[in-house]
Symmetry: C2
Subunit: 384 residues, 2 copies
């Protein structure tokens, strides 16, 4: 006879992802409406943490003015805090301690707000501290890059790197709200502008063929920095991302993770290239590799391969870097160890997504190393 008590409950989550321009203009009430929505306290304490990459024009004063204008609802505790964005912020726990200190010093509580303005790395690092202080302070994300607006910034995760392993520490902590402000995209450099498109291509390839062809048919517009086309890409990509999360296993208790198509190699390449490749650039190579592998495995034909790789090349992505090269019995740190690390991070059996058509992914549980070698050689020698 085994005695036990059963505990069973569900935790409901709800948040909105807003699409707007000039979020800190006092005529734009989206932000103040989010903050005043919950009537528990009339005036909410607020900290704003901002990526140094978006400190342009007069944004700091604009934020201060916005909070002053709406001071009936917003209690800005300090001038916006500027942090250096980019992947390096995730390698430095001192930053997390600094954020804990800011939260402590300013008596930020679980019903206060922290706004993080910046690229995906800053949102990830700030998000981890905010999610774990008082077991979770409210976070409003204002992603400022294509990549963070269409992908990580609208999702439910945060993370920092540890032991040189990407995202080793983190939590599943949905944001309180997300505001995608397309005016930030106007000042992105080429790498940031194009970098985020690879995640959109990924979602199209595994979930929505029409979306892939929308990207393919608008290559010229992306090259010409057409902001309206980019807004459309971000909206649809965010929508597919959000639907995927809510449709299955938001906190990833299982093994499958289709949105990580191309990511086992991408994560490893980011480490092997010591940050030379951005996440989006690494994802483009990771997808190309798994597309070619899908071809050599007989899942798709060569036309599809050419179609996809040409889109990447026209959008100025690399599809090969020397760090892809490995030998079957490699003993150093090389690409093939990425398969094992990916499995460990997800847990459970190896589950890697491959392609069976444009718009349709499926899972395999085994990677043939000799086909992988062949795929790397294919990319190395690919003639455009």
């Amino acid at each position: 006879m085994v005695y036990f008590i059963e505990q069973k409950f569900s935790v409901p989550y709800y948040y909105k992802i807003f699409f707007t321009k000039y979020v800190f203009n006092i005529k734009n009430e989206i932000l103040v409406n989010i903050i005043k929505k919950d009537l528990i306290l009339e005036r909410k304490k607020l900290l704003v943490i901002i990526d140094n990459g978006v400190i342009k024009n007069d944004i700091i004063n604009e934020i201060i003015n916005y909070c002053n204008y709406y001071s009936k609802f917003i209690d800005l505790k300090e001038n916006p805090i500027i942090l250096k964005g980019g992947e390096s912020i995730k390698n430095n726990f001192d930053i997390n301690n600094y954020i804990y200190e800011l939260i402590n010093k300013n008596n930020i509580c679980r019903h206060s707000f922290v706004i993080a303005v910046g690229g995906g790395s800053l949102l990830d690092s700030v998000g981890f501290s905010v999610a774990t202080a008082h077991r979770g302070v409210r976070l409003i994300r204002i992603p400022t890059t294509v990549l963070s607006q269409n992908d990580s910034g609208v999702g439910v995760k945060n993370s920092i790197n540890y032991f040189s392993k990407k995202n080793f520490i983190g939590t599943f902590s949905p944001p309180y709200s997300v505001i995608n402000d397309s005016s930030f995209l106007l000042s992105l450099n080429d790498r940031e502008w194009f970098g985020g498109i690879s995640e959109a291509i990924k979602v199209g390839l595994i979930k929505d063929a029409n979306f892939f062809y929308f990207i393919k048919n608008n290559i010229k517009n992306f090259i010409n920095k057409d902001i309206e086309i980019m807004e459309k890409l971000i909206y649809r990509c965010a929508e597919l991302h959000v639907n995927h999360i809510s449709s299955a296993d938001p906190f990833e208790f299982g093994s499958s993770r289709p949105l990580d198509f191309g990511h086992w190699a991408a994560h490893k390449l980011e480490t092997l290239t010591k940050g030379r490749l951005s996440h989006g650039e690494a994802v483009a190579i990771g997808i190309s590799l798994d597309v070619v592998y899908s071809y050599f495995s007989g899942f798709i034909n060569i036309d599809i391969v050419n179609d996809i790789i040409n889109v990447f090349l026209e959008l100025k992505f690399l599809i090969y870097v020397p760090e892809l090269d490995f030998e079957i019995n490699d003993v150093g740190d090389s690409l093939i160890f990425g398969i094992k690390e990916f499995q460990e991070h997800l847990g459970g059996n190896l589950t890697i997504m491959m392609l069976k058509n444009i718009g349709e992914g499926f899972n395999v549980s085994y990677i043939d190393i000799s086909l992988l070698l062949k795929s790397v050689k294919f990319l190395k020698n690919f003639k455009y």
Copy 2:
């Protein structure tokens, strides 16, 4: 026109709290059944982290033998790791880093298991690292004290202290399973044995009058260390605790937190007494204070006050320590600042539970400091 996407989902949680004896005896299959239940991987990686307070008899070898006997299902990666338990473990982030290292070194993945054996503090600290490595490795809690078996160990939280503030950092992360093994209670010292009863008294007072009277009527049995009576107390207290969590707001998005009756003062006293009081001992004083405050506020009569305080005194609890004393305009760190800190940790408006009858709590949103002073004096001068 405001454009937005809505994200909405619920995350389901399910776990069992088992009640048993001699969990590491190879004839006891509860643990191995938990580990082999999920068939994703045949053999699960396992780390065992154990409180030095429970290293008695031959428990380390027993654990190793258990894992060897069931090695078809269990892959014990290291001999059990012994850590010093008690509140101090929560003040030392080096411990958390050490646990991250163990998880990394042993390639523990999200589908592996960490078993934490010990008192509430060890479960809290280990729980934080386990919940944040890979965004959550599976944790089996084996609480070994009355307090952890009837209260924190069956709940959904973990935490560490930061900036000398109790539980400043942590997450809501339900365990994979909990095993309450009453054989650990046999070797508890007096303080540990009685210490956990205060949380049971608390739950009785705010939720179940019959349970309070069960405790009152069994005082002699508790003093005589009757293990079967203690098992009954733990079972019912855990049940009430578990039902409370699932019935309302498991991750505490709102302001109300009835299970924290008596805890605003208890948390502050733990800090002010620099660990001289255990959590259970501080809770007994915190409850006594709020019971007397409830009386001076006219919510309950004096007989109820005497009834409750006498139960605490007969169970060898203190109801007064000098750290309770404060002055209205205190400038040093004193009890009254505990009210504000409690509010900040919960967030939102002040919400403190008071008593309107035995078995019935209710929330107030204001504390009258002069009545609080009067309550402290009442406890100081209470004649048994």
